[in-house]
Each structure stands twice: as C-alpha cells, then as structure tokens.
C-alpha cells in the first residue's frame, strides 16, 4: 500500500505544488532563459516580425551589404501578377480594365511608377479620373521597405521576388537584421562584465548590505539585552515601539521618512531653528542619503532581530544568572559570558537571513532615495528592477534586467543552500510515523 500513501501525500501537496511551480519554479526558469535574450519593450515579449526600414538599410550598407542591393530594396516596383489583380479588384477597380491589364501586361515588372502609369493609360478601359488610376497603380506596388512580414520565409520570398539576383548570404544578412523580435544572445553578460558602472553598483551593494546588517545586529542586540534587564512595563513599551516599523505598510513608512528628512520636514525645521545646514537630507548629499537608506532598512531589520534575540533570551535558565550574581559577576560579565554565547545561533541566523533579504531588497530604497542623488545609493537589486520594469526612458530591457536578476538568484540560492547546511537541515527531517 506504499503507492496509496504516496498518493495521499501528493494529493495534500498538490495545491501548493501548482502555485509554487507557477510562481517560483517558472519565474526562475524564465529569468534564466530570458537572461540570454535581448528582449525589451521594442522587441516585444512574444515573437516579432520582419521589417526592412530605411535606417536598417543605411546600417546594412555600412556593414558590407552592396550599395546597389540596398538601394534596390529601398525602391518600389510594380508587378502585374494574380495577387495584384485580386487586390485591385477588392479595391474597386473596373473588372474590364483589370482583365485588359492582365491580358496586355501580365507577368511584367516595372521599376518606375511613371512608366507603369503611362503603360496603363494606353489601355482602352482605363478609368476616367486620375485618382482611380492611381488607386489601381498602388495595388500592384510591391515594396520591401517598411512592410511587415510575419515569418522568415515570407520575408525571404519577398526579397527573392524583388531581387532574384541577390547573393544568398546577403539575403541572410538582411533577413536576420530585419527581425524585430527578440533573439538569443550573451551580450547582456558581456555588457555587465565590461562596464565600470557594474562594479560601482556591486560596491554600493556590498557597502549597503554590510553596514545595514551591522546596524541591524547591533541595534537588535542592544534592544534585546537592555529590554531583558528593564522592568516589564518599560521593556514591553520599547518592544512595541520597535515593532511599529515592521508592521507599518511600506508606503506610509516611506512617507514618514520623507516628512522626517525633506525640506519643510522635521529635521529640516529643527536644523533651521538651530542654525545647522538645512537641506533635503534624503536627496541633498551622498552621506546623508546613505545614512537615511541604512536607517530606513535598519529599523525594520532591528525589530526583526530584537524579537528573535528576546525570545532566545527568555530560554536562558534564570538560575544561571542568579548563580553568576552570587559569584559577583557584573552586568557586563553576565552579558559577555552567559547571554552572548546563548545568542550565538540566533545571531548567526539573523545575519544569514538578513544578508539574503538585504541583497535583494529594493522596495525601501526605491520609495525613498530611489538610488539618488545621481546613482550613488543604487544597489544591484534596484538597478535590475529599474532596468527591467521601471525605466524612465520607456524602453524596458527585460533581457538585461533578467541577466542581473539571474546573478542575484544564483547568489541567493547558493547562500540559502549553505545556510541550510549550517543550520543542520537534516535534523528538521523527521520520518513520518504512520506508514501504510
């Protein structure tokens, strides 16, 4: 009955599996796949089409496509073929006139519009008005320039009918260059590794994570230890106070920090009254911007650390502390030799957990300094997000953003696997006690 018990387990798991595959597994795979494409707003997400534009031809001429071929492609020609006849019929041209065209000129090609028109004017059933004649002429026009082909073969065929003499490799080059959809490429990674901007953002990220993490751990530790020694009333007041940043919705939290640091805000007014330099501290200078970014994130992290440390402190046998007091230990010695050793695992946990979430967090920075002034407080995750989903220029580079995110995903997953080893994952795995 082993399979039966397997079925029960999987049935209980299935709703979670569906959601997790959809919103974890697939996004990771897609991030990895699209990191190797040049996908952006201009290429679109689904496939593209083939369009030869004037700009493209100019570029192709510079890249070795013979000038006469490029020029020929930019001209229109007029071909009398069944398709053109059918199009003209739909456009409302006199059927008698069309029959005559087909009979007299069938299969001929004109490279010049005026020549074709003159030829048509010699026909018996030609329309009276010039407008109708022009309309008929337009239907036979065959132009590569700016027309959209949905498939590669359609584009090739059009070029072949247009320029039967063009060499195959030139046609390949033109077709490839005319594709407007996304293509596979490793250019994203080359670009990342070659620009100096990348290294600046990496440095920013390392600085941000290291300083915020130290702030989180030290403030969290200080809060936990001091509230541990304070009378219950004061302790719970402070712990309630420090939980506020953690439960406040992020948008309001950001607005409050803006009020605190912007022109006309609290610090500004206070500094102004005291005669200190008053400016928009969040955006006005690099050191103040960093300080605020670190505090905005550090306060949330410190609350998290405080809860963990406090609950670990409650687990210390109180007799140990009494015994140490009897032996004449000072507060500092108690903290150094009893409390800190007890907090080793929680500190390690907070450090590892916060490293990961700081590495990938950008909400707080996005809503406060948004990486400014200039790009001085831009971190990797924010840059990746801005590149892919929030560009000011309007061209969202999904491919490049995905490449940046992929690096973050790889770093994140490796770190979390290391942490799992560290925290002895195997001990968490109890075997089920009912086997069918």
């Amino acid at each position: 009955m082993r399979t039966r018990s397997y079925m029960v387990g999987l049935a209980f798991m299935s709703p979670a599996l569906v959601v997790l595959i959809g919103f974890f597994f697939l996004p990771v795979v897609l991030t990895a796949v699209f990191a190797f494409t040049n996908m952006s707003t201009s290429t679109g997400i689904s496939g593209g089409s083939y369009v030869v534009t004037g700009n493209l031809l100019t570029a192709l001429k510079e890249n070795g496509v013979p000038v006469e071929i490029a020029d020929a492609l930019s001209k229109a020609s007029f071909v009398v073929d069944p398709e053109g006849i059918a199009k003209a019929r739909d456009a409302g041209t006199d059927p008698a006139f069309l029959a005559e065209i087909e009979q007299q000129l069938g299969g001929r090609t004109f490279t010049d519009e005026r020549l074709f028109e003159r030829e048509l004017k010699t026909l018996q059933h030609r329309p009276r008005s010039i407008r109708d004649l022009k309309l008929a002429v337009d239907q036979f026009e065959l132009s590569i320039l700016n027309s959209r082909f949905t498939s590669e073969s359609a584009a090739r065929q059009a070029i072949a009918t247009f320029l039967p003499s063009a060499p195959a490799d030139t046609v390949d080059q033109i077709v490839e260059a005319s594709y407007t959809g996304w293509t596979w490429t490793t250019a994203n990674f080359k670009q990342l590794f070659s620009t100096s901007d990348t290294w600046r953002i990496v440095l920013n990220t390392v600085f941000y994570v290291a300083v915020t993490l130290s702030f989180t751990v030290f403030v969290g530790l200080f809060l936990a230890v001091t509230t541990f020694y304070l009378p219950a009333g004061a302790a719970s007041a402070f712990s309630m106070l420090w939980l506020l940043p953690r439960i406040t919705p992020i948008v309001l939290y950001a607005v409050m920090w803006k009020w605190f640091t912007w022109e006309g805000g609290f610090l500004y007014t206070a500094a102004d009254a005291l005669g200190l330099p008053a400016f928009n501290y969040m955006k006005g200078s690099v050191p103040t911007a960093w300080t605020i970014v670190i505090m905005v994130n550090g306060f949330i992290g410190a609350a998290f650390a405080m809860i963990l440390f406090s609950s670990a402190l409650k687990a210390i046998p109180v007799q140990q502390l009494w015994a140490s007091e009897v032996d004449g230990a000072s507060r500092w010695q108690q903290i150094r030799y009893i409390i800190l050793p007890h907090l080793r695992w929680p500190i390690l946990f907070v450090t590892s957990y916060q490293t990961l979430s700081l590495l990938s967090s950008y909400q707080e920075i996005w809503l406060t300094t948004n990486g400014g002034p200039g790009r001085t407080t831009t971190v990797w995750a924010l840059e990746s997000f801005n590149t892919a989903l929030n560009s000011y220029t309007g061209n969202l580079q999904y491919g490049l953003g995905a490449a940046m995110a992929l690096i973050l995903v790889i770093v994140g997953v490796s770190l979390s696997i290391i942490y799992l080893r560290l925290f002895r994952f195997d001990e968490l795995l109890g075997r089920p006690k009912i086997e069918f």
Binding site: L230, I250, T269
Partner: protein, 274 residues
C-alpha cells in the same frame, strides 16, 4: 535578579536611539488633527479638515473604492494562504510521499530566499497566461510568494501535535483526510489564526506587486492610492493630508497588532523554531 544599577541611563539611551520612531509616529498621530505655522513643526491649532477626504472625494479622489478593493484583496490572499498552507504543511509534517526531502528543502530555500528577485520572471509569467493587469493575477502572485513561509509555519504547528491523536483516528478506521479534517485541524487552530493575522497584515501593506503587475488596471488598492496622493508633484502637496490618509490606511493594522500582539510575536520571528 537584584537591581545593582539604576535603570534611567539605559532608558535614556534607548529613548535616544528610538527618537526617530517616536518622533515620526507621534507626529503621525498629532499632525492629522492639528495645523502648524509654516516653518515650524510645533502645532498651534486643532482641526479636522485633514480628514475631509473621508467624505469629500474632491480633495484626493474617492477613498472608499480603494478601501473595498484592499479588503477584497487581503481577504482573498488570506483564504488562499490558509487553505494551501494547511494542507501542504500537513503533508510535509505527517505524510509519506516521494521527494519529501526535496520538497522540504525546496520550501526552506524558498522561505530563506527573497522573492522580490523573481519579480521579472513573475511579470513574464503573468504576461504569458494573460493575468497581467488583473486583480486575480496580483492576488495569486502575492499568495504564492507567501506560501513557503505559510507552509513552513504550519508544518511547525503540525509538528507539535502528538502522533497519538492521529494513530487513534487511523486505528478507528478513519481515512487520513478525515483524521486531518476532524482531529488535527482543530489542534492547530491557534497556528491558523496567527498565520491569518500575519498574512492579513502583509497583504494589507503590499505595494509593489499591484504597482508593477497591474500598473494600468481599473482597480486601486490603498497603498497605491496613498502613494498617488503623496506624489510630490501633486497640487495639493500637504504632509498633514498624507498622514491622515496614511493613518486611515494603517489603523486596521494597528488595531490588529494592539489586540493580538502576543499571538503575532510568535510568528513575526519568521518561524525559526523549526
């Protein structure tokens, strides 16, 4: 322990490092009902005019539509998270199945791994399945991103239920489903409640997902509404107004927090009890 020292220096230091929080939250409350002269932070008059937005949609636009949407948004997320976590947590805690180790490790990695990184991938998934710019899409994504945490927490709660209850049920001929539904689920009710609270607070505060995954949709949640109102380029730029809207938006969370603080404390640590 003896009091071989005085408390006030510590309290003073604590007050000092807590000063930004104290100032910000004190003024959040005070500023919504007072006016202050330009160039000063000290209020000099009482007014209710900042709360005008509740009845007068001309100031900031209608606030009740977004409120209803946010309630709907939060409720759906809580339901999905509770439903899926309670079954999956049970499976991971008690049931035998293939790849159990792998699932558990996967959930833990996902729990540890920050999910915002996946937003580009999630964006593409929603584009492909056609849920981009819909409330359904955002609800599913938000619930999905909370699941690893929820499953892990629920697994922890199931782990504390004695095996004997289950064995007795199975002995009496009940199916595993009945055992779960009738015997085990009532045992973990406190866990479900704590998870629901946590999910509600988290969903209520969500800003990023609706903003990115449904930028031009015809619904608006309160976080987006607040951010639009507090746009520095808007004509009615006024911190007291933002704070009133912000306080209105945050009151439900503060209320939940005040009432259920102890239950929330258990779960805020991040389910680290294993």
């Amino acid at each position: 322990m003896t009091r071989n020292y005085s408390n006030w220096p510590i309290i003073l230091v604590l007050l000092l490092i807590s000063a930004p929080i104290i100032v910000m939250y004190a003024f959040l409350l005070v500023d919504t009902v007072t006016t202050s002269p330009p160039g000063s932070a000290i209020p000099n008059g009482f007014t209710l005019s900042h709360w005008r937005f509740l009845i007068d949609p001309t100031a900031t636009g209608d606030v009740w539509g977004p409120t209803l949407t946010t309630i709907l948004f939060t409720a759906s997320i809580v339901l999905i998270v509770l439903g899926v976590s309670s079954t999956a947590g049970y499976a991971l805690s008690r049931l035998n199945m293939p790849f159990r180790r792998f699932f558990l490790g996967g959930i833990l990695v996902m729990h540890a791994f920050p999910l915002v990184t996946l937003i580009i991938g999630v964006f593409l998934v929603l584009q492909f399945v056609g849920l981009y710019n819909t409330l359904t899409g955002v609800v599913l994504v938000k619930a999905g991103l909370m699941l690893p945490f929820g499953i892990w927490i629920m697994k922890g709660f199931y782990d504390t239920v004695p095996w004997e209850i289950e064995m007795a049920g199975v002995q009496d001929g009940a199916s595993r489903f009945t055992v779960w539904r009738r015997l085990i689920l009532p045992q973990v009710r406190p866990g479900l409640f704590a998870l629901a609270l946590f999910a509600a607070i988290d969903a209520w505060g969500e800003y990023m997902l609706p903003r990115i995954l449904a930028p031009s949709a015809d619904f608006e949640v309160l976080s987006i509404y607040l951010n639009t109102v507090s746009d520095p380029d808007s004509t009615t730029y006024n911190f007291n107004l933002f704070k009133s809207v912000g306080l209105f938006y945050t009151l439900p969370i503060l209320a939940l927090y005040a009432i259920f603080r102890d239950r929330l404390m258990n779960i805020f640590g991040g389910g680290t009890k294993g």
